[in-house]
Subunit: 343 residues, 2 copies
DNA sequence: GTTAGCACTCTTAACTTTAGAGTGCTATTA
DNA sequence: TAATAGCACTCTAAAGTTAAGAGTGCTAAC
């Protein structure tokens, strides 16, 4: 796929870079002016015709310059940008380090702050997916009774992310019994993930003579109920928290984005898809995800915690976004977040 | 102010109602067709000229029909709509009652659900302001230690709204001490508001010999720290949760709205302003609040709990929104919410 | 292989035209 | 005297026209 000779690469790069900067179709004459390529417009035109035949660029209409196709952007990101070192806007260093440290925030707060900062500097919509609850490492768990059979579960993960979930039990338990249950869990399962806890709990319970029957049933119910279902709140928060809504998108597109993000299934699928390929990932033209998101791209990276599985943080912007600047930006933010969360 | 004779009222009503329905300037001929007013276009034109002189309507340009001014809308809402019974769209009855009851949600969940439903049926942006933490009635309070000096405070209000707040104490306490503190608070102050608790705590403490010194300092710190500062999350959630973004607003306006809503000060001011005048309140042309919100209006109502002070729920939409339908809608939603929360 | 020259295409902006909606004024009617 | 018909007038919005310019592809020359 990356079988383009040097001249073609050079010209393709010039076209895409110029189009990203100026948001206009790029003509042959323009390139001779902006880039010292040592060729005449006519020659460039020939090469452009070839690139067009290969599917990297296209003409909006017969007498216009060329704009990159999705294939073109893909090549630009995968091949052309790889060949040159990407530099990070230095403002972000300072901003992220101060924003993420000076607050005495919980893990959740840090993650949100990172998203806000990212949005501010990228001028895109920032999105965050929190670490999977399933694989979250338990630091503390507490059950608080607040109605006959209703119990509020508070989970605190290793890195300070707090989850609340109300669950309804089959029968009423006293706060005292609930405290026993949470103490038991805290002692036995501290430092393990919910997933593991659920798997081990049956084994453990009947070995441990000290546990009364009620406790068993409480614990089983609890572990069944604690699931991924609270993911949505969190993601949306981080999105809307970004005050500067994108200039690039139409209202319909924003609707579509919000719709997609409200869709839990979608977010989970996305997270799975990217957490396989650790590190940064760029989606060009998101129509695979939703048809209406054709002209949008997403740059997203996983972040990790001390032991937990990763969440994801990234941005959504126009397909012609400034990848050169934004890819390192997302990358750095994810790294900074990882560092802060595992500190 | 409401000194318009019957004919003028009738014609003003016809203009505003038609303009709301069709979003076009309304001409004299149109009115004779749509309303059986028993007058000729010429007569109506005369009346229109008078109404224009009085400032209730205006012409976008010389040869156009008339559109309502803000003063016109104000009059329409305060006088004209008062004179006729407003009816509630019946779908909402069913929808709200099922949505708010069938879920085994906490108070927070109920409030959010109400906002979502409201947004869905009004096609506007729904906003919610949660009840003031200060005056929230305590049902349960719990402190969970999760780092040396860091404590997660979980408050559950009378109506099931859950608040989390991380606080940092001056010295480290054991979970055991914290449990004592929360038990003490639960016993002594159950059913009172945070505000009252704070006021009474000093008195109570030195009377009660059973309390050790550490506990006193914990409690004082806690009550100092628990403030209104967590309001923002909640409001934003409820806003963004509404999937259908408004068709009416420009991107700039949406930005502005989000900006305003992120502004804690603004929300608090707004809440205070409306909670004085219990019940529903309509803001026409919100440029008082933010200049960029000139063409937007807000219909907002307070809702209450068993004993708590009220929060607010409402919608933001175009100035030419369908008040006739939306005012009772917001009103009913607020009432339904009040009912559910105090059940 | 590269380039200059040139005819050709197509878009965009500016200007012109036209139809029609709605008005205000005046004279007329009940 | 209040209501109305008639009419000239104004202004907008849509459609049509024109002209400039940007960029191309092709061909012939270097």
């Amino acid at each position: 796929m990356n079988t383009l000779d040097e001249r073609r690469k050079k010209i393709l790069y010039a076209i895409i870079q110029s189009h990203i900067d100026l948001n206009i179709p790029i003509g042959s004459f323009f390139i001779t002016q902006k880039f010292q390529v040592g060729l005449s417009p006519a020659t460039i035109r020939n090469t452009m015709a070839e690139l067009e035949k290969l599917g990297y660029i296209m003409q909006p209409h017969t007498s216009a310059g060329r704009v990159p196709t999705e294939k073109g952007y893909r090549f630009y990101i995968d091949v052309l940008l790889e060949e040159q070192p990407l530099s990070l806007a230095p403002e972000l260093y300072y901003e992220l380090s101060t924003r993420l440290t000076d607050t005495e925030k919980t893990g959740t707060g840090i993650i949100k702050e990172a998203a806000k900062t990212l949005s501010l500097y990228s001028h895109c919509l920032a999105i965050v997916i929190p670490p999977k609850t399933e694989e979250m490492i338990l630091k503390r768990i507490k059950f608080i009774k607040y109605e006959k059979k209703k119990v509020l579960t508070v989970l605190i993960s290793e890195n300070g992310v707090v989850y609340n979930k109300t669950i309804e039990l089959e029968k009423a338990y006293s706060q005292n019994q609930l405290d026993k249950a949470s103490n038991y869990l805290n002692n036995k399962f501290h430092g393990l993930s919910i997933k593991i806890v659920r798997e081990k709990i049956a084994d453990q319970l009947h070995k441990d003579k000290m546990i009364c029957d009620q406790l068993i049933s409480i614990l089983l119910t609890l572990c069944k109920e604690i699931s991924l279902s609270d993911i949505d709140d969190f993601t949306l928060n981080s999105l809307a928290g970004t005050a500067n809504l994108p200039d690039f998108a139409t209202i319909d597109q924003i609707k579509e984005i919000l719709g997609a993000i409200e869709d839990k299934q979608f977010m989970l699928k996305l997270l799975n898809q990217i957490s396989d390929s650790l590190g940064i990932r760029v989606f060009v033209g998101m129509e695979i995800i939703r048809p209406a998101l054709k002209e949008l791209s997403m740059v997203i990276s996983t972040y990790k915690n001390k032991k937990d599985t990763s969440g994801a943080i990234g941005i959504i912007g126009p397909t012609r976004m400034n990848y050169k600047k934004l890819i390192p930006m997302v990358e750095y933010t994810a790294k900074a977040l990882t560092k802060m969360l595992s500190a």
